[in-house]
């Protein structure tokens, strides 16, 4: 059964029919937003059953669309939190990927700006490495990008998409070491992205992120995970009631190969490790439970089949 990421949009009336249906079909609801009379579900559903969900939700005026970024956590790396980069373009891009279903975090560097003075500290590096992909928002000058990128990519292990003012070919030529994705023509600008050509650029960023993530998904599929992160999310929600008290927008953030649990590590890590998933197999057997560099959260890294010899 292949699970595909989709977004369901529909009225709040009787939406539990859809939620139940998704769960009965073996899918998972990753995020649920209730906005006035509308409900938006970001979920994983079996590929073959999408038509069935469409059929059943039709009387409820529900709409099912593909959302390739559901279940991913993206780091939007902004060079600083100054007016030069915020709210445009950093927030515009972070918000746009959120609409397609991703969970985006903005990582702002302490010494991001400049050419000679630029730097990346260990905390920033580790926080970026906790994500599925990093989107670097660079400036308009190729001299600066060429000079800065080797420093900003030091120790980064996740796939990177570089956005910058020069065109794509120039970026491919100057960025060293090479990264996975490039989007040209999106440097620093001081206006809201609302014109058609600017929105096209945002779509281009999404397409590039999707392409890079698809490749990562394919690589993961070669050595499948011992347990699906979306399934773990539901289990933790059932077994660790404290997660229901967390007020952050996504207390459990699903990633491609793991999960961020927004509970204090020292208190909850032993309980999570001992949590039974099925047939006496505990979470500690199939996943590495580590402290996150983001606040005192827990990072659950699901181990691949080759390491655990189990798939549940």
């Amino acid at each position: 059964m292949t699970l595909v990421p989709v977004t369901y949009k529909g009225g709040i009336y009787q939406h539990d029919i859809v939620t139940d249906l998704i769960e009965d079909l073996g899918g998972y609801v990753v995020q649920k937003h209730v906005l006035a009379q509308e409900v938006v579900l970001q979920c994983f559903v079996p590929r073959d059953d999408i038509e069935l969900i469409r059929e059943i939700s039709r009387p409820l005026f529900g709409e099912v669309t593909d959302s390739p970024l559901v279940g991913t956590e993206i780091a939007v790396v902004s060079m600083s939190l100054e007016i030069h980069h915020l709210p445009h373009p950093s927030c515009d891009i972070a918000e746009y990927v959120r609409r397609i279903g991703a969970k985006s975090n903005m990582v702002s560097l302490a010494r991001g700006p400049g050419k000679r003075i630029t730097g990346l500290n260990d905390e920033e590096r580790d926080v970026i490495n906790e994500h599925d992909i990093a989107v670097y928002l660079m400036g308009n000058f190729e001299t600066c990008i060429e000079h800065k990128m080797p420093i900003l990519l030091r120790g980064i292990e996740v796939p990177v998409v570089v956005c910058g003012g020069p065109d794509k070919e120039t970026l491919i030529r100057i960025v060293d070491p090479p990264v996975e994705g490039y989007v040209g023509g999106v440097g620093r600008f001081m206006r809201r992205t609302k014109e058609a050509d600017q929105l096209d650029k945002l779509d281009e960023i999404i397409a590039e992120i999707t392409r890079v993530l698809e490749k990562k998904r394919e690589d993961l599929a070669k050595d499948p995970l011992s347990v699906s992160p979306a399934r773990l999310m539901n289990l933790i929600r059932e077994r660790v009631p404290a997660i229901l008290e967390v007020t952050s927008p996504t207390p459990l953030t699903v990633q491609l190969a793991g999960l961020r649990v927004k509970l204090p590590y020292d208190t909850f890590a032993p309980a999570l490790r001992a949590m039974e998933i099925e047939d006496g197999i505990t979470l500690g057997d199939v996943a590495a439970i580590e402290p996150s560099r983001m606040r005192d959260y827990i990072l659950v890294k699901v181990l691949p089949f080759s390491e655990t010899n189990t798939v549940i």
């Binding site: 600083s80 050419k115 003075i117 308009n140 190729e142 600066c144 020069p166 001081m190």
Partner: protein, 193 residues
């Protein structure tokens, strides 16, 4: 950039120059400064690195008087001022307090000020100067150019004098011949610093 007589952005990287022209335009427009600038030349060299903005301001001689922001209605024993624009209200009240005393000035609501038993005519009240818009202009311009200049360029040197200004910023210590560069940029506009 219709209101500006001369506006150029010079940069060894043509793509960068285009983006910075857009950024400069957007920032000055946002800060409402386009109408005070007559000529503007921006030079950026990311290799040095240096950012230079030189320009000429339009002469601003006008001052804001009470009559510009309020309607003065003389009545029996008092004078009611109906405020239409709040920007200079605080400085106006301060001037009234100093001149007439706090007991004679009352502000019953946001848009009304009442003066009791003041020994001056309505015409005279209308003529009182309450603001000089040009005073804060330098500060606004510096702030705007800080937004325009690349963020890493934190070492700055600004000069505002007799309607002419220069703003130089760099990531490294500013080189000694910066005055020469500024002079050369002014010359491109057909001006002297």
């Amino acid at each position: 950039m219709l209101a500006v007589e001369y506006f150029e952005v010079e940069c060894p990287e043509p793509v960068g120059a285009e983006y910075y022209k857009q950024i400069t335009n957007d920032v000055l427009l946002d800060h409402n400064l386009l109408k005070v600038i007559e000529k503007l030349h921006v030079y950026i060299d990311p290799k040095v690195p240096v950012f230079i903005a030189v320009g000429i301001l339009k002469p601003i001689t006008n001052v804001v008087r009470v009559g510009d922001i309020a309607n003065v209605n003389p009545q029996e024993g008092k004078m009611t001022l109906v405020i239409t624009e709040e920007t200079y209200l605080a400085s106006m009240l301060k001037i009234f307090w100093e001149r007439f005393g706090k007991d004679k000035v009352e502000q019953p609501d946001r848009f009304t000020v009442v003066l009791y038993d003041v020994p001056v005519a309505a015409k005279e009240i209308e003529e009182i100067v309450i603001g000089h818009p040009s005073e804060s202009l330098n500060k606004d311009l510096i702030y705007a150019f800080r937004c325009v200049a690349p963020e890493g360029f934190r070492l700055r040197s600004e000069r505002f004098d007799k309607g002419k200004f220069s703003f130089v910023a760099s990531e490294n210590t500013l080189v000694e011949n910066i005055d020469e560069l500024v002079k050369a940029k002014f010359a491109l506009m057909g001006e002297t610093p």
